[in-house]
Assembly symmetry: C2
Homo-oligomer: 338 residues x 2
């Protein structure tokens, strides 16, 4: 059931079958029909490895995603799904590569063994050797997020600085003067995670501009950590009336902490942050948040990557998204005001 078999049954040469399928040279209408008929009868499909070997393209893209040690967030899930779908629309398959402790091994596999035509990198760091490395080799890659010097590279990302700043403004406009910031965990900050750092910057600057009193926290990626973090916030400054968070996985815990402390949202305390819309609606009251457009990010990343694969020398492109804040029910006027 290979191309030779098809050729034999159709009474033509292997190359003719190949041309009949690819259309790269003209083939008589009659021959084409005969070949097609044999193919349909046998249900033949060309072997992907052989094809990849011959023309140097695998029609596969690599998705380098965080290891399970990090707790996954809903946003990441939506993102992966949309990448796979967008890739399928462009006739690409998606190969997953966990970037982790032995990131080298898995990552090298993808590139050096030429398993993929290009890669999408999640969880970018401000200083990211993976990006540097890919840049040197001019390997087609698109980052989700941007490094400290993103000039030469292709990326799509959120403007976390602007988003957290918008959250601060929103709260300040409601009269809140003492606000906490709940970031991702310590180790991700130390590793230089882009979103955590830029989000923190945006928060800090906007708060300074508005003259607010703030405290910033790092919080583990799960509900118990969120609860604990909230307890700390109220302990260290009981007059805090609002918080901004980037930590989707801790959100449920933050809510729980507030409930246990007897603070009602949004009457006594406002909560907002950067969270994918679908997940912002799972908490009660639904979270007012900058909705992470995970689906759009995935689609754009694939489109950029496909373009880059097709035009290896094209100038770098990128998309910086700044989704608006969706007003739901978790923020309100500061207590004692209005």
């Amino acid at each position: 059931m290979n191309i030779g078999e098809i050729a034999r049954r159709a009474g033509v040469s292997r190359s003719t079958v190949s041309y009949a399928l690819s259309g790269k040279r003209s083939v008589s209408e009659e021959t084409r029909r005969r070949v097609q008929q044999v193919i349909d009868e046998l249900g033949y499909r060309p072997n992907a490895s052989a094809r990849a070997l011959a023309n140097g393209r695998t029609n596969t893209i690599g998705l380098v995603f965080p290891p399970a040690g990090n707790h996954y967030t809903g946003m990441q899930l939506d993102f992966i799904g949309s990448v796979v779908e967008a890739a399928a629309a462009h006739d690409y398959d998606v190969l997953l590569s966990p970037s982790g402790a032995d990131s080298d091994r898995s990552f090298q596999r993808l590139l050096a063994e030429r398993r993929v035509d290009g890669a999408i990198l999640m969880e970018i760091r401000l200083q990211d050797d993976r990006v540097d490395h890919l840049g040197e080799e001019n390997f087609p890659a698109v980052c989700i997020g941007r490094t400290a010097q993103p000039e030469g590279s292709w990326w799509v990302g959120l403007d976390h600085t602007a988003l957290t700043a918008a959250c601060v403004s929103h709260l300040a406009d409601l009269g809140h003067r003492r606000i906490a910031f709940v970031n991702r965990p310590e180790h991700l900050l130390r590793a230089g995670y882009e979103s955590a750092h830029r989000g923190l910057d945006g928060f800090t600057e906007a708060a300074a501009e508005r003259g607010l009193t703030v405290r910033t926290y790092r919080c583990g990626d799960d509900a118990p950590a969120g609860q604990e973090c909230l307890e700390r916030i109220l302990r260290e400054d009981p007059d805090t009336t609002a918080l901004v968070t980037l930590n989707e996985a801790a959100l449920g815990g933050l809510y729980r902490g507030l409930a246990m402390a007897g603070r009602q949202i949004p009457r006594d305390f406002s909560v907002t942050g950067v969270v994918a819309g679908r997940w912002a609606e799972t908490v009660t009251p639904p979270l007012t948040a900058a909705d992470v457009p995970a689906e759009q990010l995935g689609r754009l990343a694939v489109e950029l990557l496909v373009e880059r694969i097709g035009h290896p020398d094209a100038a770098p492109r990128h998309h910086l998204l700044t989704p608006p804040i969706s007003l739901r029910a978790s923020t309100g006027p500061a207590p004692g005001r209005r």
Copy 2:
């Protein structure tokens, strides 16, 4: 930078390089060292396509997962992560294949084009033509869940019948007499989703055995649908005091509905179901639930698949898991009792 180049620089033939790497024939210690040195200097890694073509194995497994139209659940995310990790441990890569509207196209690609050595199928249906099809071809596959006639196939799954029955018993022991069941959406039931059907069966049988009054509902996979569903439950039988759910994505909405109706969990109303542990802890109060061991399921699936790939004629194996119910804080004695 191919094997011929290595051979030339090391002053040996291509086959010798191959044997030096694979160890399938003896190579003198000195030659091996020289070859290895050249390889290290050049950072050579054998081309995956060429290797796959030559020995007929891609070292890749396919993960057939639900299309984005279905809303993903946290459990699925954890599962995918653990599959990727377990696969990496066995030196396999993971190729994602969305099974959806054009499932044929993507699915056929995987198999007929020999992109993968085996496949893991998520979201099994009681009657599943994908499974039948793979069975006929004796293609190495492992199902997550079991079909109506699972005898000939390899699978790992949860005993949803036993799990929902256990939930019912738990509630009955607490004195609840009127219980609702919140299932997955209508269209998934019509499609024959295994977990939805078996879960429903287990619930119904256990309730009948205990002589309980029950109602069953189908609920969309998101928070607003959950909220709406809960409103319906209380409207159609205001004396309902507990519910069992399989619908992780609707959980937040169910909780919200209860809060809006002024029913306090667990004082006025108990909630339980089958939900991955990490996600059961995001709601307040934390959900008493049969914890879906997503990580274990992924690991076991990969192990079975790797074994099956290695031994094409081995007898079918499977794992049926029945995780215990983790007592958290969402269930309590029926109101008016003790």
